[in-house]
Subunit: 343 residues, 2 copies
Amino acid sequence: MRAAVLRSGELVVDEVDEPVPGEGQLLTQVLACGICGSDLHARKHLHRFVEAANASDGPFFLDATRDIVMGHEFCVEVLEPGPGTTGFDAGDIVVSMPTSIDAAGNIQAIGYSNDYPGGYAERMVLTAMVTMKVPNGLDPRHAALTEPMAVGLHAVNKSAIKRGEAAVVLGCGPVGLAVIAALRLQGIEPIVAADFSPARRALATVMGAHEVVDPRDEPAIAAWRRVDGVNTLVLFEAVGVPGMVRQAMADAPRWARIVVVGVCMEADTFWPMVGINKELSLQFVLGYDPIEFGATLRAIAEGDIDVVPMITSSVGISGVPQAFDDLADPDAHVKILVEPALG
Amino acid sequence: MRAAVLRSGELVVDEVDEPVPGEGQLLTQVLACGICGSDLHARKHLHRFVEAANASDGPFFLDATRDIVMGHEFCVEVLEPGPGTTGFDAGDIVVSMPTSIDAAGNIQAIGYSNDYPGGYAERMVLTAMVTMKVPNGLDPRHAALTEPMAVGLHAVNKSAIKRGEAAVVLGCGPVGLAVIAALRLQGIEPIVAADFSPARRALATVMGAHEVVDPRDEPAIAAWRRVDGVNTLVLFEAVGVPGMVRQAMADAPRWARIVVVGVCMEADTFWPMVGINKELSLQFVLGYDPIEFGATLRAIAEGDIDVVPMITSSVGISGVPQAFDDLADPDAHVKILVEPALG
């Protein structure tokens, strides 16, 4: 089948082996798959990505010298249940957590695996146990955003933020926007967001931020002091470049909680005394659990979260390498979908 | 009066102005005051200490070019209540949070103030509001350890550790030992501790650690895996040198909580991807609240925490500079008390 393949740090469009569903698995056809910022990181810093994964005892185990088909934000159509797999039929439109569990209990991260191709391909094998049918006739292109929006919900849940507390979101890329949507859905106010890009700032407002600033004009925390300044503050770091955590710690008020949801591949610095003097906490977050994933799918299907404004373009498999380059311009794109039917 | 003065980064014994109690304050005579590792840091890195304090909007505001009388772990005798101060009489033996609040509401940290001399002096002014009488005829030298032991209780409370969870304590200086005592009092098991010093390892066992290792022989987390390895883990970083947080993050199991209670004066590095992949949290902690301070005083007075093994020496004010040097040897000393009556 055709796929966009990460090979020696380059994205190439090539033929790869057809995936074969095992027990408890489903052979599916990809309808839409979002391109994630982590995939851009992984292409650019593959060895560091693999090194960090191995240093963390997972959750990803990758061999950087072998082919990887990325893509973990997908909506697919079931082609054929694997042997003994029940609960799904050909034609079902489904989403799935990008986690593969085989009959022997081996777990792999779909999209960051040498064995399980992700959604930048014509077909995928999914695990029925973590697959959910798309309800309400939801457009598969919108259902594909379940995964990134679930990241936002999980970050918000891990922060333990509650009504009466304030939120600052640093960075309005897809992760920051997903955090904003989840905060808005939980009734948090104010939500103050910051991004250098005018397009992303506009989108932050659409997704639910109450106050959005260009940090060159006014730092996000100064904006929060202006519009609130009183309630307990939770900061979401969704930029993911070195120096952001240190700056957030420097700017944060005493007892603030900082949630690190932006993936920074490099080693970074911080100043422990500032953390100690202000009794800050840093909570690093990753992914979501099945309940959060399902809740997000329902929220999108029921119109509680409108993901349409986030989708800025669609490309076929042959367009994936160019789309990765295009995503470098934050004013041009937020979420580009790969739709294999487009070619 | 006589005092050991931090002047231009050097400790000198000199005469300083007599402190004068204001409204709501108490003039007291120092009976015993422990030397804290933070004071060693402050002497060695005064400018960095002041810079970090100012970058944090407090809680310390210091002018490094003016005299500072340190000492914030004290037990004193009331000499004379200030004007309008009620509730205390001359002769009362008391401890106090090292926080001065004047009639105008200005807050200063006693021991890190240019205006309020700390306990390395003959006399001090305390604020009645945060002062507590020492019960049960407790020896003032033991009551002086209320402050450092309260630091351990606060760190344990902020960690939200509960029975059924495991603890690893990195570093068995006074802070690590205080954490161990508080963990033991809360029924946490196992408590695994690590220190390079044989004397401190022995003391960790006395204070309540179940398993104590030399990290050169076996890393603390490896020891935890050996004796437990199953329960949720809370790590207390009580060493306070660069690289400890990064190493703790590298060694920690997934979902571990890391409590940073060791004061590291320098900028430090960490690897965000490791934090993200394991969903770690870092909680920085400082001090204690009045309830924790009072609970610690009671625990010592009632024999629930035995601080006697921690006290390794007493000196007069003239012995303070040498005591600071002596504390550099972790096998020789844990807590040295300054007792002005000794000269």
